[in-house]
């Protein structure tokens, strides 16, 4: 197997294991089954930033968790409003309006994303023996395209290729998929390759 495809296959496996950890933590919080798509891994450059997604103007709730330490990058959760409403109703035991979320509800989503992010990063950090620190989350509600535009630009702004692992997840009571995107910044990709003993 070539080095390049070995790297992508390894990352895909990271995505499968870590995504499973994150989903398990959500399943515990919601007391329901969480479904996951298979990991998708790709390398990104500046020109790949705009997706061909036809749903770029769809309004989504997004939580961004940058991380640093032995690896730099960010985790992005893109939640559709129906899922957010279903989730918040379940954990807060009351009706909420996903179009006008209150401070407490936003904090709940941030906290949930932090828990899922910790579970996700644990798999990668323990395999690589990395110390990774997850920073405070930031939350925003906007068009999906605008969110991706900003976050992906942040990841590639140092002009190196960044790596992206993405997975969709959903629950049976709301089958519209949400997205979990793991981004490794370009300046950490070399170190990651060295740890895995592969070249870019």
């Amino acid at each position: 197997m070539e080095n390049n495809s070995y790297l992508l296959e390894t990352l895909k496996e990271f995505g499968n294991i870590s995504g499973g950890n994150a989903a398990a933590s959500l399943a515990l919080l919601m007391d329901t089954q969480v479904y996951l798509s298979v990991s998708k891994v790709d390398k990104m450059t500046q020109l790949d930033l705009k997706t061909n997604d036809l749903r770029v103007e769809e309004h989504m709730i997004s939580i961004l968790l940058p991380f640093d330490g032995d690896m730099e990058g960010m985790l992005l959760f893109l939640l559709n409003q129906t899922f957010a409403q279903t989730y918040l109703k379940k954990v807060m035991q009351r009706d909420v309006c996903a179009y006008q979320l209150q401070e407490q509800e936003l904090k709940m989503l941030e906290e949930t994303a932090s828990i899922m992010a910790s579970a996700f990063m644990e798999g990668i950090a323990s395999y690589l023996k990395y110390a990774i620190r997850i920073q405070q989350p930031s939350i925003t509600m906007d068009m999906k395209g605008s969110i991706l535009n900003e976050v992906l630009t942040m990841a590639v702004q140092d002009q190196h290729q960044a790596l992206r692992i993405s997975r969709s997840f959903w629950v049976s009571s709301c089958e519209t998929p949400n997205e979990l995107i793991f981004l490794v910044k370009g300046n950490s990709v070399d170190k990651l390759c060295a740890s895995l003993e592969v070249s870019r």
């Binding site: 020109l47 930033l49 103007e57 930031s138 068009m143 630009t153």
Partner: protein, 156 residues
Amino acid sequence: MKEILAKAGEIVVGDRNSIITAKALGSSLGICLYDSYDRCGGFVECLLPKCTKDERSCYVDVGIQQLYDQVTSISESHQPLIAKLIGGASLFQGKNQQHEDDIGHRNIKMAYDVLMQLHIPVVAADVGDTFGRTLHFHLDDGSVYIETKRDFIYHI
């Protein structure tokens, strides 16, 4: 009217019968150049402020120059152009970021610098803030209609 969908880093020019649409701008900056005499113009969406490696129009410095070249090449009147800027937001501004380091902020600053060097006045701008924008650039009169997340529509 012919609607043209602009992709990031792609230069689009048109005449008075065109509307240029760019969807879901975040930190990237939309630059509209317009010749009000000939009623033609062009648009580019740039992602990052400065090009250091290659000459691609997804960078503000290169993108504006290439857009200027293309608009002046289709303009018969060679009248001075005007510019409108849209985008450059910072959706996650807050705890983890400082304003000066925002990509959106740096894109805006670079655009003003480059446009000043080209002697193109910025007649209107809807930039910065913390929300994404979709824009429709009407080349019959140079107006730009902007849509935001709460379905507000206004024009500059």
